[in-house]
């Protein structure tokens, strides 16, 4: 009897130590779930979700304080992958946050109207606008995420969103038309009635 008590106590002690060591030695830095969620967000950094960027939104989802359907740039596809990751239900996009754009857009600055006030530079979350004070500004298209944050600050309304032009390189094959619901034509005979 005492043998059993002693050996179990020893075992408990040993495992306790091992677990305690592991908890310190293999401690996970940061917030791995938030990281995974963030990797699925589009990184447009537009703030439409109500958070100042994709990272804070990812953290809010990870903390369970926010729904997964508040990111318009990610759209339905984004919601689907988030639901898959978190094992939750697929929700419809929250219309309060915004609507998904049909085609990706980028900002352009009408350079003749630009007064060089630098307000848009301060607004751009990814530093995709270049220019100096009192000099014309321009958008680096390849780096623009289409977040539209530069539009409201512009005092002379010289920034527009344009759909990126499709050329032979960016053209994509469309999805073939889906299967018809009833593949064979069904004839209803009068005799049934």
């Amino acid at each position: 009897m005492s043998m059993a008590v002693i050996s179990l106590t020893l075992l408990a002690l040993a495992f306790g130590l091992a677990l305690g060591y592991a908890a310190i030695r293999f401690r996970v830095q940061g917030n791995p779930i938030a990281d995974e969620i963030e990797a699925l967000l589009p990184q447009t950094q537009c703030g439409q979700c109500g958070y100042p960027g994709c990272r804070p939104y990812a953290e809010a989802i990870a903390a369970g304080t926010e729904q997964i359907n508040r990111c318009p740039p990610g759209g339905d596809t984004g919601i689907k992958v988030l639901a898959e990751l978190l094992g939750t239900e697929i929700l419809a996009l929250d219309e309060g946050a915004g609507v998904e754009k049909a085609l990706p857009e980028v900002a352009i600055i009408h350079e003749d109207a630009c007064i060089g006030c630098t307000k848009c530079i301060q607004a751009c979350p990814v530093d995709a606008i270049v220019g100096a004070a009192k000099l014309m500004h321009t958008v680096i298209t390849a780096e623009c995420t289409g977040c539209e944050l530069c539009i409201p600050p512009c005092p002379v309304d010289c920034i527009d969103m344009v759909v990126e032009k499709i050329d032979l390189q960016s053209w994509r094959w469309p999805k073939p038309a889906a299967i018809r619901n009833i593949p064979i034509s069904v004839e209803v005979s009068d005799k049934v009635a």
């Binding site: 963030e38 967000l41 589009p42 990184q43 447009t44 950094q45 960027g53 994709c54 596809t77 979350p125 990814v126 530093d127 995709a128 780096e143 995420t145 499709i166 050329d167 032979l168 390189q169 053209w171 994509r172 094959w173 469309p174 999805k175 073939p176 038309a177 889906a178 299967i179 018809r180 593949p183």
Partner: protein, 515 residues
């Protein structure tokens, strides 16, 4: 030592035995005719898979035949050239043969009828060239894979791996296309010379020309040319059994060597360089005569064409002129295709220009075209699996793509699909499988681009956040310092108070009273 490649033949999985209609266009006597000069040429700037080149000509410029229109400095570029002498009348977007139906930038040229050559840079003593010089010349001549893939040849040659065998692909396996067969009969010496150039400069010890079983005439003419060139030790002709899609690079390698080109890899990784016979002939022209790639042999055929035949035609010629040369369309013409019936591209107009990829213009009659049938659900019959030459599972791929489950595609190797159309052809449910695979591939590509873009955006966002934070702390530190400095000396404190009082007093004094 192992038996040399081609001694024993192997096979690839699947494939289809298709009835051939090559004889339709091969009744003519050799050499095949050259299409007369056209009045206007429309030359698309980008005719190859790869990056677009920079144009170096302007509207209103007079050019001679062979003048380069674009610089060929880019690593994956291929220059385009003036097909004849004349005047550049416009540089604008025009419809081009492409599945999207979109317009693309073209150089439009009016022929002056003289067909005068620009000064060329021939190099008959090719032995003196280094590999780099060869590649530069091939790039400048705008040579691309003429088998249909139009990949820039210079880029392919620039691979660093050691090559032990050059395989010349003459196994033209699409049922109607005969342009390579004609070339091998008409100008076998060019092919042999091209092969000698490549072998000599790239130090390749042996070359084989693969042709299909029924190409008896080609074997004769090639053998004769090899004898004449004294290249019996270097080049050998190998016949492979007729099976579609044997002309595919990977499939041909598998038949000849029994080895499978690794997924995502190139034949180069097996020490093999595969080139289409027409491409090699173009290399010989470019090096020996200094002639850039301006024209090719095109098969114009099908039951919808009055007098099917092969011809030499310049790039930029309207396709309608090729058809007119063959006596026009028969009343039963139903569909015009660029390329073969299985892999070709349906054209919506015959006013489109001929491009480097145009090996065949196929006019199908209404009897040849099957009516569009409705698509039925997959019945899991497995026919598609048994014919796939790439050993894929088309029905599984199709299901995954249909449900947009793109992450499941990676282990299924969608990228290995060569879009041969075998599965599509045999599917009893008429599922447009190839279209699904093209869609799936494009979506994967788009996803990769999006991922790249979002990673870039995140990095830039984080950098900006760091910068803002740094500025903030710096500012705070500065303020702190100033405050401390002020608090540190009572002297200063009083002097500031005095200054403030002085300023106030000054303000209260009426203007000019201090004089």
């Amino acid at each position: 030592m192992l038996a040399p490649i081609g001694t024993y033949l192997h096979s690839f999985p699947g494939g289809l035995k298709l009835k051939h209609y090559k004889a339709m266009s091969c009744q003519q006597s050799l050499p095949v005719p050259r299409l007369p000069l056209s009045a206007e040429y429309v030359i698309p700037v980008s005719q190859h898979s790869g990056s677009e080149d920079k144009l170096i000509v302007t509207v209103g410029q007079k050019v001679l035949k062979g003048t380069a229109f674009s610089s060929s400095e880019q690593a994956t570029g291929a220059a385009i050239h003036a097909p004849t002498s004349g005047l550049i009348t416009a540089i604008e977007a025009r419809p081009v043969p492409h599945q999207s139906g979109l317009k693309a930038l073209c150089v439009i040229m009016e022929a002056d009828g003289e067909d005068r050559w620009a000064e060329m840079n021939p190099c008959p003593d090719y032995q003196e060239l280094t590999a780099t010089e060869l590649i530069t010349q091939v790039r400048a001549a705008g040579i691309v894979g003429l088998g249909g893939a139009v990949f820039p040849t210079a880029t392919k040659l620039a691979g660093t791996e050691k090559i032990h065998t050059l395989i010349l692909n003459g196994a033209e396996c699409e049922p109607y296309i005969a342009c390579d067969e004609i070339l091998m009969q008409q100008a076998p010496e060019k092919i042999i010379q091209g092969a000698q150039i490549l072998c000599e400069i790239l130090a390749i010890p042996q070359a084989i020309i693969a042709i299909e079983d029924p190409m008896e005439n080609c074997q004769k003419s090639l053998d004769k040319a090899i004898l004449q060139a004294g290249a019996e030790a270097l080049i050998k002709v190998v016949k492979v059994p007729m099976l579609y899609p044997e002309g595919g690079e990977r499939q041909l390698v598998q038949v000849l060597t029994g080895e499978e080109v690794p997924a995502g890899g190139l034949p180069l990784s097996l020490g093999l360089l595969v080139q289409n016979v027409a491409t090699v002939a173009a290399i010989s022209d470019a090096i020996i005569h200094g002639k850039p790639l301006l024209e090719r042999i095109v098969t114009v055929t099908g039951n919808g064409i009055v007098a099917p035949q092969n011809m030499v035609a310049s790039f930029g010629t309207p396709i309608s002129e090729l058809v007119d040369f063959c006596g026009g369309y028969t009343p039963s013409i139903a569909r015009l295709i660029m390329g073969g019936p299985l892999m070709g591209l349906a054209l919506n107009s015959d006013s489109l220009p001929l491009i480097k990829a145009s090996n065949c213009i196929l006019g199908l009659s209404s009897a040849d075209v099957s009516s569009t049938q409705p698509e039925f659900p997959c019945i899991n019959c497995g026919f598609c699996v048994s014919v796939c030459p790439a050993g894929l599972l088309p029905q599984t791929l199709q299901t995954m793509i249909r449900s947009e489950n793109f992450s499941a595609l990676e282990p299924l190797h969608l990228e290995a699909c060569i879009e041969c159309g075998c599965c599509d052809y045999v599917c009893p449910s008429h599922i447009p499988l190839v279209n699904y695979f093209r869609y799936g591939k494009d979506q994967l590509q788009q996803l990769a681009i999006d991922k790249q873009k979002s990673t870039l955006a995140r990095e830039r966002y984080e950098l900006r956040e760091q910068r803002l934070e740094k500025q903030q702390t710096e500012r705070r530190a500065r303020h702190q310092k100033r405050k401390q400095a002020l608090a540190g000396s009572a002297d200063k404190q009083t002097s500031i108070a005095a200054a403030v009082a002085r300023a106030k007093a000054k303000k209260q004094q009426p203007e000019g009273s201090d004089s």
